[in-house]
């Protein structure tokens, strides 16, 4: 039986040359993301913005979106976002947060239920008040910052300082580009998005760590090899694995996008994008970054490295 091979054996591809394109490209995209984030902003879901989200389904299987929109706007609860999705007459309504504190939100649900419950089933109703949404923003931000710091310490402890810094730069790059994805696609940004970003942080480091593990090993074996050559060798020897894992992960995410249902689709799409970005950044950002940071680091590192190699 002939087995599938996605990457040729004994490749000698010059990945480091990519940095001439990848560095300016990533810098440009990151800056663009920052500008768009400040000007356009994220499409915050009710988790972070507060408000009321409803998903209703027509009992007849056929929703009259125009009529729903008209009726919902006549309630006087502000701008309502009405969207049809799926094929069975499902409609989502998003009401903005109401002035007047926590208890004012309840009126929205009450009114909508009274009006629509004859012709529509209420499949999901979520109301988040101003206080809870504020706290969720806080814990989401803390989560991302904390994970980056925690991982930085782990890498510092496990690897040399230079490798840790390079992988963190790669990870920050992935976070920024993922946020860019949210800004451009207008995907709703909610608590699940934070989960997606943290998972991408995990995956991003996973990718970098696998390459750097090899880099460290090769550093001990070839003490005089120039950084560029060494990094190329690290990537070439791990490339087969990188492609395999990216493929299996992408396949399972593809299954989620296709069959996971509306609620999970958004998460899966972001993750799918994240897998591509993480693979790119491990090869084209974190690794070549080491050429500039200095692979062999300070003299003391070199000496201890030498001792470690001698002890092996």
């Amino acid at each position: 039986m002939r087995l599938v091979r996605l990457w040729p054996e004994n490749s000698h591809f010059d990945f480091m040359r990519f940095r001439r394109f990848s560095f300016p490209l990533s810098a440009l995209v990151s800056v663009a993301t920052a500008i768009m984030l400040l000007t356009i902003g994220l499409n915050f879901g009710i988790d972070f913005k507060g408000g009321t989200l409803m998903e209703i389904q027509a009992k007849s299987g056929q929703a009259n979106v125009a009529q729903i929109r008209q009726t919902a706007e006549s309630f006087g609860f502000g701008d309502v976002e009405v969207q049809e999705f799926g094929t069975a007459g499902e409609v989502s309504l998003r009401f903005p947060i109401q002035a007047g504190g926590e208890s004012a939100q309840t009126a929205v649900v009450q009114k909508a239920r009274d009006t629509f419950s004859n012709e529509y089933d209420f499949r999901r109703v979520e109301t988040v008040g101003p206080r809870v949404s504020g706290e969720l923003v806080q814990s989401g931000t803390i989560g991302i910052v904390l994970s980056v710091i925690a991982v930085l310490f782990y890498l510092w402890f496990r690897f040399e300082r230079e490798l840790a810094v390079a992988s963190i730069i790669g990870t920050l790059h992935d976070i920024v580009l993922t946020i860019g994805f949210f800004v451009i696609t207008r995907h709703e940004f909610n608590m699940t998005s934070i989960a997606a970003i943290l998972t991408i942080v995990g995956y991003s480091l996973n990718e970098t760590v696998v390459v750097f593990d090899r880099t460290r090993e090769l550093m001990r074996r070839y003490k005089t090899m120039p950084a560029e050559e060494l990094l190329n060798l690290s990537i070439n020897t791990t490339m087969s694995r990188t492609i395999m894992t990216a493929t299996t992960t992408a396949l399972s995410l593809l299954a989620l996008v296709l069959f996971g249902g509306q609620a999970i689709q958004g998460f899966a799409q972001v993750m799918l994008y994240g897998v591509v970005i993480c693979t790119y950044s491990a090869i084209c950002i974190s690794s070549p970054m080491l050429i500039y940071i200095g692979l062999r680091g300070s003299e003391s590192v070199k000496v201890s490295e030498g001792r470690a190699a001698a002890a092996e």
């Binding site: 999901r124 943290l198 995990g202 996973n206 760590v209």
Partner: protein, 535 residues
């Protein structure tokens, strides 16, 4: 050496089998689980039979999630009122008078007693009001709940301290949980989960509840019932309270409370025999009956004020003394309102108003659809990955696939044993793990291939592949685990379900991808004695 001793094989297989068996109860419905437990002969010790099962999150089984917050301001207002009454009582007992009455200040009250001798008599009594907080038994640091400050010109301020306020809020949450439980139980709702969350919140989760309107109506009321008298002209100690169904009109009500909700022993919804109006019948306890009897005897012809949560809901004229200890509340009520009112009165008053700060309800249809979609995605992902692994690694791919299936089974087993909650993001986590779990196998296999191509024999190549890939596997899984653990602590509800799956997945991958795979490869090698690597 590439050998697996018999005891080691038995241990590995045994641990995996136990892990998989733990998942069995989760595949059964509740009735099947009960039948299964009954079918086990009685001589089998119960701990040996797996009986714990995965709990489905509200987003999968449908239901309501309502997060309530104790209104600290409302609570403080009641506390200050009580403090004011206590101070008034002490002033009366010690026969000391305050120059400008009792003033309400931030978190407390203020009085003015210029005479030093009067103050000497008063202060020890006032200090009794301040209870030490904290738990002395547990050695918690405490402080006084009320701080008393005196100025030289005789102004005495009693104010709740920060610790005092927190202590009250904490106690209010505990009391609220009790009251909420009684209220929900008396509606016949099954299996509500009522938990404290954070310092000042209560999370109520009711599976299967489709419209939380009644629940919210039930929890939105403090349920503080008071029987007072409508004030006569010229009375001084009165509150102006809104009258129900009177368009915001306020009526004067005497401050003195004849009897209150706590004096009731029972309250039932009923219909008035003459007007056919829905009413609530109630019974007083002995103390309440006595005081109510006395008050109605003394005030014949006057109007009673039945006050619920500072609103006069009914003001009947006292036609005859009510000494039997029972009575009725009538007003312009609907049947649903009297039902709720009866529940409120039976279960007692909340210590403070509760505000709904978050509400999430999922209908049973959506939950069912989500489970179906999740199953479908899981199967498809598994098929994709299994085919791809087999096409790439042949026999080794087959071994990785067995390890993958065991891996997913073990996640379910561990989740069952922990009675963890499976949410929709949790299902997404399982699907994602299917893709990432094989990473460890891939790392090992690619390394083996490299080693063999570098000139090692198969046996030593496999050995070296496992050994050298292990450090990488630990590193890559650790970084993943760090992100997952942080997500677990910061996320709530559904997102936490994702983190649980992810963390368990990382733990089990070490067992399946390293130990189980190694064992299967060792057995395969002993059996086949291959000359070349099969991939």
């Amino acid at each position: 050496m590439l050998r697996f001793s018999r005891p080691k094989i038995i241990a590995t297989v045994g641990i995996i089998l136990i892990g998989l068996l733990l998942a069995v109860p989760s595949t059964m419905t509740r009735e099947q689980r009960q039948a299964f437990r009954n079918a086990i002969p009685s001589w089998v010790p119960s701990w040996i039979v797996p009986s714990r099962a995965i709990v489905l999150g509200l987003d999968l089984q449908g239901g309501s999630h309502v997060l309530l917050e104790v209104d600290a301001q409302d609570l403080m207002r009641t506390q200050v009122t009580t403090l004011r009454d206590d101070v008034r009582r002490i002033l009366r007992d010690t026969r000391v008078s305050s120059q400008n009455g009792i003033q309400t200040v931030q978190r407390g009250v203020q009085i003015r007693v210029p005479d030093a001798a009067d103050r000497e008599r008063l202060l020890p009594r006032l200090r009794e009001l301040s209870q030490p907080t904290g738990n002395a038994v547990l050695g918690q640091a405490g402080g006084n709940s009320i701080e008393i400050n005196t100025t030289p010109d005789g102004v005495i301020t009693l104010a709740y301290t920060e610790i005092g306020v927190n202590e009250r809020v904490r106690r209010a949450v505990d009391q609220s949980i009790e009251v909420i439980r009684r209220r929900i139980d008396s509606t016949g709702t099954t299996e509500p989960s009522i938990q404290r969350q954070g310092a000042d919140r209560v999370l109520v989760q009711v599976p299967g509840l489709q419209d939380p309107q009644q629940l919210k109506a039930l929890l939105g009321e403090t349920g503080n019932l008071e029987f007072r008298l409508l004030a006569q002209q010229g009375a001084t100690d009165v509150d102006m309270l809104p009258m129900q169904d009177a368009g915001g009109q306020r009526v004067p009500v005497e401050r003195r409370i004849i009897a209150e909700g706590g004096d009731l022993t029972d309250a039932q919804p009923a219909f008035d025999s003459q007007t056919r109006q829905p009413i609530v019948n109630f019974r007083f306890n002995i103390r309440g009956a006595q005081r109510f009897g006395q008050a109605t005897t003394e005030n014949l012809g006057r109007q009673l004020a039945i006050v619920l949560d500072n609103q006069v809901i009914s003001a009947p004229t006292i036609q005859s003394p009510i000494t039997g200890g029972s009575g009725q509340i009538s007003g312009n009520f609907t049947v649903e309102q009297v039902n709720n009112l009866a529940v409120l009165l039976r279960s007692g008053a909340l210590p403070a108003k509760l505000t709904i700060v978050e509400e999430r309800t999922v209908g049973p249809g959506l939950g069912r659809d989500s489970i179906e979609a999740g199953k479908m995605a899981t199967y498809v992902a598994a098929i994709f990955v299994v085919i791809f692994m087999f096409a790439t690694y042949g026999v080794f791919g087959l071994i990785a696939n067995i390890a993958l299936l065991v891996h997913v089974g073990l996640i379910f087993g561990l989740m069952s044993a922990l009675e963890a909650t499976l949410t929709l993001p949790g299902i997404a986590g399982i699907v994602l793990t299917i893709g990432t779990a094989v990473d460890s196998n891939v790392l090992i296999y690619e390394r083996i291939r490299e080693e063999v191509h570098a000139g090692r024999s198969i046996v030593s190549g496999i050995q070296a592949g496992f050994d050298r890939a292990f450090a990488t596997i630990v590193d890559s899984n650790s970084t993943m685990a760090i992100a997952a653990v942080i997500l677990f602590f910061l996320g709530s509800g559904p997102v936490r379900g994702f983190a649980v799956v992810f963390i368990l997945g990382i733990l089990t991958t070490v067992i399946t991808a390293v130990t189980l795979t190694r064992m299967m490869i060792a057995l395969w090698y002993q059996w086949m004695r291959p000359k070349v690597l099969p991939f």
